[in-house]
């Protein structure tokens, strides 16, 4: 029930920010966020930023899967 996509903050003006993702740009409201900086990625839902996307955590999640792939190559089965 929650279509939200990550978009990068490119300008901030009070309670509003301009966000961008792959050539699409919109002005949204950042009033639901504690602090937002330029270049942050935020999840945009219904014209509002609702959460920041953490680069570290994203990396960690993808690395976990990468490790899975490598584990598959060297061993089989798991419980």
């Amino acid at each position: 029930m929650c279509l939200a996509i990550p978009m990068r903050v490119i300008a901030i003006d009070g309670p509003r920010a301009v966000v961008e993702q792959a050539g699409a740009r919109r002005t949204i409201n950042i009033g639901l966020m504690d602090e937002v900086k330029e270049d942050d990625y935020v999840l945009v839902h219904a014209g509002y930023a609702i959460a920041r996307v953490d680069e570290e955590e994203a990396r960690r999640t993808l690395d976990l899967i990468e490790q899975l792939a490598q584990a598959t190559d060297s061993a089989g089965g798991e419980t």
Binding site: N29, L32, A46, T61, T79
Partner: protein
């Protein structure tokens, strides 16, 4: 798209699917409670990828589907009032009330405007001072903060012609009702990632602690969903029950406190009726007394006849996960996206519509 494409990587999906299929367990039943999960699972055919290990079922996670008939009828009646602009998310346009829909009311002359954001509805109110703008506030904890902000914005501008019809609902009380039901056979919950971005993971802990049901907060891309499924299966295989977060890049255990504060400023918890689940105490939101002047329910005196459920419609059972869409006799026959009987087929993320629209193409072979 950054932070999206990486989580749709076919290789990663394959690895996760294989990892899931290697976990030695009898087939389990996992329930998701978010329409966006329903859509994503159907869109990417994830059900088929892990069919041997897990059966994925949909719960009451489609806000359009769980909005009671009476609320829809109220909003339709409001749209017919002279001088009203009825502003809504696109999701509600084709949902049938007892007699009509917003799409049909528009055809008959009502001014109905689809907006992407409740902030746009406030803008409509600014630009049309002689009209009354009523916003149809559906959605769960992800959306309630946005609607609350719109009320605060209207208040800040002293707009006398904006009000919200608050039909928001809360997920944890619905989950509590589900686990209390004797016939619920679910081995784990795939929890809604964006609701959780707002409320965090703590409100779900009773599911693991008191009911022993494993839970994982999941994102929406194929990698996210499969990651969560794998974590659930590992919990089950290891005999554990905990609330874990797979969607760490967007969800912190404490969620978004500021968004919750905005909600508390404008709304209060109230009893709510859920289509298919009945009345659940403290499971919805209502505009609080302090903001009564922005409460559409109080501002407009509307009488709505008792709603009537269509015969043969089993949306309630589908919403509880008690049956699959295909088990409803109307599915694909009398009830299709073209001519929907119940809300699960109208809403594009209702279990029935998602199942119908994104139905698997049975192997037809290649030329």
């Amino acid at each position: 798209m950054k932070y999206v494409d990486e989580f749709r990587d076919p290789r990663a999906v394959r690895e996760l699917a294989q990892a899931i299929n290697r976990i030695a367990l009898p087939r389990v039943r996992l329930m998701e409670v978010c329409g966006t999960h329903t859509m994503s699972i159907a869109r990417y055919g994830l059900r088929e990828l892990i069919a041997e290990r897990a059966e994925l079922i949909s719960g009451p996670g489609c806000p359009v589907c769980v909005t009671p008939q009476g609320d829809i009828d109220w909003f339709l009646a409001a749209a017919r009032l002279p001088g009203v602009i009825a502003a809504t998310f696109g999701d509600m346009m084709r949902v049938p009330g007892s007699d009509s829909s917003l799409e049909q009311e528009r055809a008959r002359g009502a001014e109905v405007r689809v907006v992407y954001s409740p902030a746009d509805a406030v803008e409509l109110a600014r630009r049309n001072p002689e009209r009354q703008v009523i916003f149809f506030g559906i959605g769960f904890e992800t959306t309630a903060p946005a609607v609350a902000m719109s009320v605060l914005e209207a208040k800040g501008d002293s707009l006398a012609n904006y009000s919200a019809f608050c039909a928001h609902k809360l997920i944890p009380p619905a989950l509590a009702a589900l686990v209390a039901a004797p016939d619920l056979a679910v081995n784990g919950f795939i929890l809604p990632g964006h609701v959780s971005a707002i409320i965090g993971s703590r409100p779900y802990e009773f599911l693991a602690r008191e009911h022993g049901v494993p839970c994982v907060v999941a994102g929406f891309e194929p990698v996210d969903v499969l990651q969560a499924v794998r974590m659930l299966l590992l919990q089950i295989a290891q005999g554990r029950a905990a609330v874990e977060i797979a969607y760490n890049r967007a969800v912190a255990p404490e969620g978004n406190p500021k968004a919750r504060a905005v909600v508390s400023q404008v709304f209060e918890v109230a009893d709510a009726r859920w289509r298919g689940l009945g009345d659940i105490p403290a499971s919805g939101l209502a505009v609080n007394a302090q903001h009564a002047s922005f409460d559409a329910r109080r501002r407009f005196d509307l009488t709505v006849s008792p709603a009537v459920e269509p015969r043969g419609c089993r949306c309630g059972e589908v919403l509880r996960g008690a049956i699959h869409p295909e088990q409803c006799a109307l599915f694909g026959r009398r009830c299709t996206p073209r001519e929907p009987v119940g809300p699960c087929m109208v809403s594009s993320e209702g279990a029935c519509a998602a199942r119908y629209r994104y139905r698997a193409a049975p192997a037809g072979g290649e030329a």
